[in-house]
Symmetry: C2
Subunit: 262 residues, 2 copies
């Protein structure tokens, strides 16, 4: 049985996970839960997109077996106090920009696994660091769950699908493709033989700087196991970018040398 | 199926858990693992009693189904980095004396639960705060495991059975019954109508002070849910004591108003 954990406001990225789960498993559970513990007080928990009726309608054609949509108080009753604390894999990048984020992610993922009891869980590559946190969770805490990471779904202009895209102003939506363009540039350079990570990330920053609406949180080129910075890029190295467009924070990434991921 | 998690050097306290598990469950797994993550660097990990051959012999008559004795590197391979972090229930008493102790306990208990997959787990009341940490672990992380807490097994002079008792010098062994005597005094006072926690704990300290070999870490009278200090004792309140006898640290407790627990 498969679990596809989501925070709802489902888009075609989520649906690609659901379709793959349906192909590979006899039963599919989709959870819809906007997990408060992975948002810091300054973040966008209150205005995170919520549309349960739309999500139910969206999931009817694929025909999932169970949509699990618990309340916050179901998941975190008053006496709740036990968290899962990820290690160094959660310290950099998103973990550095969003303190406590991956503690909340690891905790809710373990809770969902324990409630639903899946054999397989489907996550999206867009949340690259999250997939590593979940992999460590599974291995370190001896969970009997297989993790499947699915490719990033993109809009026609390359923007990675995200529930937060709905909050972009028209101008920001147009400008937001710059994240993808910076990753494409990284792929072009690596494809043309450039292996110096600093050269590639400088060029990514140059592409991003040409779009003044994008406020860059980080550009990084890292190895894929612990997302540690590298000097020399090899196939499998990961280029990541995070930027704010107005009040909306977007992330994207690509695995270099893996044709066609960004 | 039952799990009785132990750190080995089995004594009659462990055996009382095993016997109860055998009475109540179709199969019984006993784990023997001296868990390094629940010891701080200054503590007695290296000299904690280990006797796997003795443990195997001890468990043969009760006839457990599986003895699970993983190595430290099996449980904590090099890349291990994900811990379970308990909340306020782990902050006082043993948690205050042993920083990080309950993080290690909660982590290894979850790992053992996930590896073994028990329906029921048996723990001893001697590690009173540990049973509360495990209860919060089970409830907060949605584990499908029933927790059974078994009474403290005692030597003829009242000393709570403990693997660490083997390390007591003859003089310390004789003096060590003072922990139990202080708890008996608390029960006597409460049984005679005393309800002021301060009066009872003062009297416990007086009993302990009469034994100069005992260096008291704490004496506490607390409510049973979160082990918070109380002013007025009611049935179910818990009296706890921790003291060092030479290099050996001992703990004991009793639930006040529950006839015959200490």
């Amino acid at each position: 049985m498969a679990l596809v954990p989501t925070m709802g406001a489902l888009h075609k990225g989520h649906l690609s996970l659901v379709e793959r789960a349906k192909d590979e498993c006899d039963a599919v559970v989709v959870s819809v839960f906007v997990n408060p513990t992975q948002f810091s007080p300054e973040e966008d928990l209150a205005r995170y997109p919520r549309d349960l009726d739309g999500d139910i309608a969206t999931l009817s054609p694929p025909g999932v077996d169970v949509l699990f949509s618990p309340s916050a108080v179901d998941m975190y009753p008053q006496r709740f106090e036990t968290f899962v604390e990820p290690g160094p894999v959660a310290a950099s990048l998103e973990g550095a920009c969003r303190p406590g984020h991956f503690r909340g992610v690891a905790t809710v993922v373990l809770k969902l696994f324990n409630i639903v009891g899946p054999d397989v869980a489907y996550f999206g590559q867009k949340d690259c660091q999250q997939t590593l946190v979940v992999r460590r969770l599974i291995e370190d805490l001896n969970l009997d769950v297989k993790l499947i990471v699915c490719p990033i779904a993109r809009e026609p202009d390359g923007l990675a699908t995200s529930s937060r895209n709905a909050h972009l102003s028209a101008s920001d939506r147009q400008a937001a493709s710059v994240l993808h363009r910076s990753l494409r540039r990284a792929e072009e350079l690596f494809g043309a033989g450039e292996t110096k990570a600093a050269r590639i990330s400088d060029e990514m920053r140059r592409v991003l700087a040409a779009e003044p609406r994008a406020k860059v949180d980080y550009v990084a080129i890292v190895e894929p196991a612990l997302l540690q910075p590298i000097d020399l890029v090899t196939p499998g190295s990961v280029a990541l970018v995070a930027a704010r467009m107005g009040a909306v924070r977007l992330i994207d990434n690509t695995v270099l040398g893996s044709a066609g991921t960004a």
